[in-house]
Structures are given as structure tokens and as C-alpha cells.
């Protein structure tokens, strides 16, 4: 799409070219007219010289006749002036007609005649001066002079006619050139006017449309700019408020960082004290670990003895079963003996008494074996409980030993970690101090930002005013390029 300047430049360029064409045509016409005028002037000069030649010869003839008649030398002045002026005129005429061979030929014909005429005039004047009037009259009457003059008049007349023909021809050429120049100027001017008018209308219409669209864009942009400026102003205000809050928060952060640095310093001291305490605890734990290992060996021994005791109890139980079985069988035998004795009547009474005593003994043995079984069961239960408790204790001791090993490893790790903690606490202290410095710098930067936010708020308000002015200018520009609808 062409820009405004390009369109206007194109319009002016076309108009300039038209004017240049018209000027060139006019210049060429004027040049032709000037050349034609020069040629006409030249023709008039030739005509004047032709007439001058005849006039000088006539003046010389007139002076010759006056002198012949009067014999007074004063009448010879025209003769002398004419004879003296003719060569210069002939020379001028020859130069003026140098481009015309016809005229040069006629001048070649005229020059001997002029010389003969001048010689005839001189002859007659010489004769009169000698006092021979008759001779003089005789020469004049001979008509030679008249004949020469007639020829000269004929030649001059031919030259005059040719020059007048040339004059007419050149006058016609001048008329044609002048008419062409006039037509060119008139039509070119009209064409130029029409073109300039059309170009003006087109450019005006195009510029009105484009400028109108641009102005509408400017109006909408102004509205958006106003909206954006409003948002920017409110945002800058909020930013300013937020920056104030941030400033307060950073101040608190600065105080907190200093407290952290102090706390880190205290942590470092505490870690060093803890490290020495852990080293002491490590030695104690090592001693305790040795004691626990001794306990573990004792417990293992107890477990072995208790297991042996359990096995022995089981063996006792087996033997007791045998005794119980024997007692039961004895009891059965005694009962059967009692039955047999009672079946034997009086003879079996004594035997019955013995059998009864045996049965009682078997009963008592059975009762005792029951008690022993109960005791063995209690012993076995106690042994089992003791073994389980001892195994639990052994496991606890194992666990304790492992835990002591873990505690020892943990204490070593704690010692290493405490070293790391001390270093870390020192690094935290240094970092926190650096952080406090950085926070102070950030605080300053935030203050600058807060100032910048306030300045932004002010500039946003100014932008808002400028956007309003721009909107007003757009409306005025719209009014300028668009006629009112009801106009």
C-alpha cells in the first residue's frame, strides 16, 4: 500500500512531467519561432541590400547626370557615395546569401554589370570634366548605360522575388509553429488541469479513507491506552503498597536473620559440648558392651544347664511312669488277690489282709507317683519357663549387645555428625550474616522499587491524561477529515 507521501509525490511528479512536456513543446516552438524570425529578418536584410544596390547605382547615375548637365563638382557627391557604397553592399549581400546558390549566381551576374555601369559613369564624368559635352552626350545617348541598368534591375528583381517567396514560406512556417505551440499549451494546460484535479480528488479520497481508518485505530488505541493506563496506575498503586509490605517483611527478615546467626553460633557451641559428652559416653558404652558380653556368656551357660535340667526331668518323668505302671499293676494284683482271698473264705482272710496292705502300699505309691508327677510337671514347667525366660534374656542380651554396637556406631556417627553440625552451624552463621547483608541490600533495592512504583503510578496517571488528550485529538482529526453526516 502506498504511503501518503508516495501518493502525493506521485501526483506532483506526474503533474511535473506534464508541465515539463508542455514546457519542452513550448520551448521547441519558441525556438522554431525565433529561428523563423531570424530567417525572416535575414530575408528582409537581403531585400534591403538588393534595394540598396539599385538605390546607390541610381544615386551615382543621378550625380553623373547632374554633373554632366552642370559641370559642377558638387553634383558628384551622390555619384561618389553610390560608387563607394556599392562594393560593401554587394559583399554583405554575398555573405547573406551564401547558403543560396541561386542568389550567388545572380550576384555573380550582377557584379560585372555593376562594374560596367561604374565604368560608364566614370567615363562620362571624365569626358565632361574634359569639357567634351558632346562626347559625353554621345556616350549617354549610346544607351549602353541604360541597358546595363535594365539588366541590373532584372537581376535585382529576380533576387527580390526569390527572397519574397522565401519570406512567404518562412512566414507560413512561423504560423504553423505558433499554431502548434498554442495548441500544445492549451491542450497540455487543460490536460494538466484535469489530471491535477483527478489526482487531487483521488488522493483526497484515499487520504481521507486511510487517515479516517488510522484515526479510528488511534481512537481505539487511545481507549485501550486509557484502560491500560488505568490498570497500570492501579497496578502501580498495588505494587507500591505491596512494596511497602515487602519492605516491612524484609525488615523482619533481617531481624530474623540476625537471630538465626546468633542461634547458629549457640548451636555451634552446644554441638562442641555435645561432641565431648558423646566421646565420654562412647567410652562408657564400650565398657558396658564388654559387661554385656560377659552377661551373655553367663546366660548361655545358664541356658545349657537349664536344658540339661529339663532333659533330666523328662528322664525322671519316664522312670516315674514306669513306677506308676508298676504301682497300678501292683494295685490290680492286690485287688485281684483280695478278690481271691475273699473267695477262699476264712482260709483266705490272712492272705486278704496282706493283699489289702499291698494294695494300700500300691495306692500310696500311686499317690506318691502322682505327687512326684505333679512336682516333675512343675519342675518341667519351671524349667521351660526359665529356659524361655533365659532364652528371652539371651536374646535380649544379644539384642542389647547388637544395640550397644549400634549405639557405639551411632555415637561415632553422632560424633562425626556433630563435627558436620558444627561446621554447618558455622557456615549457617556466616551465610546468615551474608544473608543479612544481602537482605539489607534487598531492602534498599525494594525501597528504590517502591519509589519507582510511585513514579510509575505518577507516569501512569500522566499516560492516562495523555491518552485522554490523544482521544480528543483523534475526535478532532475525525471531524477534520469527515464531514458531518447531516452537513
Amino acid at each position: 500500500m502506498w504511503t501518503f507521501g508516495r501518493k502525493i509525490a506521485a501526483g506532483f511528479m506526474l503533474a511535473f512531467l506534464l508541465l515539463l512536456g508542455i514546457g519542452a513543446v513550448a520551448y521547441r516552438s519558441i525556438t522554431s519561432l525565433t529561428n523563423a524570425n531570424q530567417l525572416i529578418t535575414h530575408t528582409y536584410k537581403v531585400l534591403e541590400d538588393v534595394a540598396e544596390v539599385l538605390s546607390l547605382l541610381k544615386d551615382a547615375e543621378s550625380g553623373q547626370r547632374g554633373y554632366i548637365i552642370t559641370g559642377d563638382d558638387t553634383f558628384l557627391e551622390p555619384y561618389q557615395a553610390g560608387v563607394a557604397g556599392v562594393p560593401a553592399v554587394i559583399k554583405d549581400l554575398r555573405e547573406l546569401t551564401s547558403d543560396n546558390p541561386h542568389q550567388q549566381k545572380r550576384i555573380d551576374e550582377a557584379e560585372p554589370l555593376i562594374a560596367a555601369k561604374v565604368a560608364e559613369l566614370k567615363l562620362t564624368i571624365d569626358l565632361r570634366r574634359k569639357g567634351s559635352l558632346d562626347e559625353t552626350t554621345k556616350v549617354v545617348r549610346g544607351g549602353e548605360g541604360k541597358k546595363i541598368m535594365d539588366n541590373l534591375r532584372r537581376i535585382m528583381s529576380q533576387m527580390d522575388r526569390e527572397e519574397r517567396d522565401l519570406l512567404k514560406l518562412r512566414a507560413d512556417e512561423v504560423g504553423a509553429v505558433a499554431s502548434g505551440a498554442k495548441s500544445t499549451i492549451v491542450f497540455g494546460t487543460v490536460l494538466c488541469l484535469l489530471f491535477v484535479t483527478a489526482a487531487g480528488l483521488l488522493i483526497t479520497r484515499s487520504l481521507s479513507g486511510q487517515i479516517g481508518a488510522a484515526v479510528q485505530h488511534v481512537q481505539s488505541s487511545s481507549a485501550e491506552l486509557q484502560s491500560a493506563a488505568n490498570q497500570q496506575a492501579s497496578g502501580a498503586k498495588e505494587s507500591s503498597t505491596a512494596m511497602t509490605e515487602i519492605n516491612t517483611t524484609i525488615s523482619e527478615l533481617l531481624a530474623t536473620s540476625r537471630q538465626i546467626a546468633e542461634s547458629a553460633q549457640r548451636v555451634s557451641h552446644v554441638a562442641e559440648e555435645t561432641s565431648s559428652a558423646v566421646r565420654a559416653g562412647d567410652q562408657t558404652v564400650q565398657k558396658t558392651h564388654d559387661s554385656v558380653n560377659g552377661i551373655k556368656r553367663q546366660v548361655d551357660l545358664i541356658v545349657t544347664h537349664m536344658l540339661d535340667l529339663g532333659k533330666k526331668s523328662q528322664q525322671i518323668g519316664g522312670i516315674l511312669e514306669i513306677i506308676n505302671e508298676l504301682a497300678e499293676q501292683t494295685n490290680i494284683l492286690a485287688i485281684n488277690a483280695t478278690i481271691e482271698a475273699s473267695g477262699a473264705g476264712d482260709a483266705g482272710k490272712r492272705f486278704g489282709v496282706v493283699a489289702d496292705e499291698i494294695r494300700k502300699l500300691a495306692d500310696r505309691v500311686g499317690g506318691s507317683t502322682k505327687e512326684i508327677r505333679l512336682l516333675i510337671e512343675e519342675i518341667r514347667a519351671a524349667v521351660n519357663t526359665t529356659v524361655m525366660a533365659t532364652e528371652g534374656g539371651s536374646k535380649a542380651v544379644d539384642l542389647g549387645a547388637r544395640q550397644f554396637a549400634e549405639v557405639t556406631a551411632a555415637l561415632k556417627q553422632i560424633t562425626e555428625l556433630l563435627g558436620t553440625t558444627t561446621e554447618a552451624a558455622r557456615e549457617i552463621e556466616l551465610s546468615t550474616k551474608q544473608q543479612a547483608t544481602a537482605v539489607a541490600q534487598v531492602n534498599g533495592a525494594v525501597s528504590d522499587i517502591a519509589k519507582a512504583s510511585k513514579e510509575t503510578e505518577v507516569s501512569a496517571n500522566q499516560t492516562l491524561q495523555t491518552a485522554g488528550q490523544l482521544a480528543g485529538l483523534s475526535r478532532e482529526l475525525t471531524r477534520l477529515i469527515q464531514a458531518p453526516a447531516n452537513a
Binding site: N331, I335, T338, I339, S342, V353, D356, E357, L361, L375
Partner: protein
């Protein structure tokens, strides 16, 4: 747990009792009417059996199952060189066959030797006959219980072995074919 001192004193007491009983002459012993009873358990219930009504006691004898129309008959066992028909005392008393193995046998003398199997034997009792009371119930299901033993720490029914043997006899007679009777 019994203390060792108490055990020692008990041993002394037992020894003195044994020596005293051995020292008493048989003729001077108190003539007291006592009854010899076996204390047993059938299906968990306590019972007593008169020693005078049986011919022997045995345990852990192998009982070979014997096909029979008498449901109470468990089989036969070899005791003292002869075959003995073994019946379930619990079944005869109306409990049905005991779930536990009846490892005890009382031997009875009838037309044929009979064994009555039961699960638990608790001991031999010598009690005054005054502690054995007759019952006056007429319940057909309890026809074999005609006496009750009541002591300071025990109350139980006394099974009448002759009645049990009679019951077995009736069952055997009923199971025989009519021509054989």
C-alpha cells in the same frame, strides 16, 4: 509345692502306720462290717462296684471285635488263658458306647466268663456297710442300681453286677434263634 520337711514327716507317718498295722494281731482287729468297693467312672459319672460280685480286675487287654446282634458286645479278649466276652458297661447302663477307649475290665463269673469294660478306674474303697444305702426307686432304666454309696466326700451309685449279668443273659437269649432256645 510340697515342702521337703512335710514329705519327710509324711514318710515317717506312713512307716508308723504300716508298722502299727503289721503289729496288730489279726484276731484282735476290730470286727467291723466293711464292704469292698471299686470306684470307677462310666462316661464321666462315678459308680461303685462290689468286689464280692466280681472275679477279677484287668486292664489294657486287647479286645477283638466280634460280629453280633447284641449292640453292647464289644468282642472277645484273652484273659488268664481263656476267652472272655467283653461288654460295654456304659452301653449296658444306658449311656451308649463310650467315646474313649475302655481300657479297664472287670471280670465276672456267670455261665460263661464275662468282662465289663469301662474307661476309668479310680481306686479300691473299703467302707462300712452303713454307708451303703438301699434305694427304693422303681425306674426300669435304673434297675441295675439298687444301692447308693455315701461317704464324707463321695456319693455314687452301686452297680449291681448280678443284675447286669442278668441283663446280658436276656440279651443273649433274645439274640439267639428260636429253635436254639
Amino acid at each position: 509345692m510340697t515342702e521337703p520337711l512335710a514329705i519327710a514327716s509324711r514318710a515317717v507317718e506312713l512307716r508308723s502306720v504300716f508298722d502299727r498295722e503289721r503289729a496288730i494281731p489279726l484276731s484282735t482287729r476290730a470286727i467291723e462290717q466293711v464292704a469292698g468297693l471299686l470306684s470307677i467312672r462310666v462316661s464321666g459319672d462315678p459308680y461303685a462296684i462290689r468286689v464280692s460280685e466280681i472275679s477279677g480286675l484287668a486292664n489294657d487287654r486287647k479286645v477283638v471285635a466280634f460280629p453280633s446282634s447284641i449292640p453292647e458286645l464289644l468282642g472277645v479278649a484273652g484273659i488268664r488263658g481263656g476267652l472272655v466276652s467283653v461288654y460295654s458297661l456304659a452301653a449296658l447302663l444306658g449311656y451308649g458306647r463310650e467315646a474313649d477307649q475302655a481300657r479297664w475290665l472287670i471280670l465276672c463269673e456267670a455261665e460263661e466268663p464275662v468282662g465289663l469294660a469301662f474307661s476309668a478306674f479310680e481306686g479300691y474303697l473299703r467302707v462300712p456297710v452303713t454307708q451303703v444305702y438301699a434305694t427304693n426307686q422303681r425306674d426300669a432304666a435304673r434297675a441295675h442300681v439298687k444301692h447308693v454309696l455315701r461317704t464324707a466326700d463321695l456319693v455314687c451309685a452301686v452297680v449291681s453286677i448280678p443284675d447286669i449279668l442278668e441283663l446280658i443273659k436276656r440279651r443273649c437269649d433274645n439274640s439267639r434263634p428260636a429253635k436254639e432256645r
